[in-house]
Subunit: 224 residues, 2 copies
């Protein structure tokens, strides 16, 4: 069995990406981050998903992006609730996927793994620059120069993005096929103390529309 | 004044790189990392250097790379003392510069800065893959796709590596010219409790040879 490092936030995209890695026969080392996000409760989902989908190990790495701020998820800026607008939304966290993939690269190198899974998608997404295929391709190229692989000419690092060309409803259908338990996932940017989703932020809207388009029922409880 | 994010470990290379950024007229936001390194005492040097060289702000971001291990600096592996050997040494920390630059990119984007300084050099170095010019070029390309700059066609992110083609003695001479106080720097991978350098690890050896070649006296206290 080959080892892969799988980034799992606790949302349904990363859960489905993890399920794909398992289907493809990887031993999965699941990595999550406690980065000071407003919706920190997603980490409980990440832990339950890692266990449920048979991860070998789950690590949560803490660091605090509130030290920089600059996003509605890491600073005192309201999460928009009136639907998607043009441009990059204030929920964008500067360089977040670059940081996440960098830690994944570090763990992969220590594990002698050359496979990293990330659940980004560039179709039904929020317009974040670091979800685009051209970013992933550039990261992969850089990763192969950053590590021993690039110097010693070993196996190349691959950044797997199994969902990058999928619509949200396609992701949900695939996740359902692969046995992802969507009750364990969390998508909302602005949950209440009990973890209930708001139903109004961009992430909730994309999720609800995805379930509707897939003809499936979202098992989560929404507070409105 | 333009703002730059300057990575400063506390060593003499990054101190000189910061001095170059100041000479070139940048307002410097200094970034250091408490990553579980054996020579954590270098952070005291980083703080003193930031103050001494007129940084606008100094942030130390903590995260623990001991969670992954895999290096003599972050795991229970002895630091070699018998001089450089062929290949990538055990003091290499997987993906460390990728992680450091990713955080620098995040802070730069929040500050609306497009300039990042890092004191890597590819001449008198320890053979780490992430100190090579081809890695830096690939990171810069990736950085411009990872952030708003790449989407909105703003100013491009530049990763400045003013020392990349310098020998250690050239770095020391330049640092001396620019007024770097080398008493404030720390290079040793394996200092004692009082912070005294070992004089035998690769980092101490490169430093001592650099001072000798430059015809200057290293003001640090060595324990042997």
């Amino acid at each position: 069995m080959r080892a892969a490092v799988c980034l799992v936030s606790g949302g349904l995209d990363s859960a489905t990406s993890l399920a794909v890695a398992r289907r493809d026969g990887f031993d999965c080392y699941v990595l999550s981050f406690d980065y000071g996000q407003r919706h920190r409760i997603e980490l409980e989902s990440a832990a339950r998903l890692a266990a449920n989908l048979g991860a070998v190990k789950h690590l949560i790495v803490p660091f605090d992006l509130r030290a920089f701020g600059g996003s509605a998820l890491t600073a005192d800026i309201d999460v928009p609730k009136s639907g998607p607008e043009a441009g990059i939304p204030v929920t964008y966290v500067p360089a977040r996927n670059t940081i996440f993939l960098s830690f994944a690269l570090a763990w992969a190198e220590v594990l002698s793994s050359f496979d990293i899974f990330i659940g980004v998608n560039a179709i039904d997404y929020s317009g974040y620059p670091d979800c685009r295929p051209e970013f992933i391709a550039a990261f992969e190229k850089m990763a192969n120069l950053a590590t021993k692989a690039g110097v010693e000419g070993q196996t190349k690092v691959t950044i797997h993005t199994p969902l990058i060309r999928f619509s949200k409803s396609e992701i949900i259908k695939l996740g359902a096929e692969l046995g992802v338990d969507f009750r364990l996932t969390h998508s909302c940017y602005d949950p209440d103390e009990r973890g209930r989703a708001c139903g109004l932020c961009d992430s909730c809207r994309l999720r609800l529309k995805g379930f509707a388009d897939a003809g499936l029922r979202d098992p989560l409880e929404y507070r409105q």
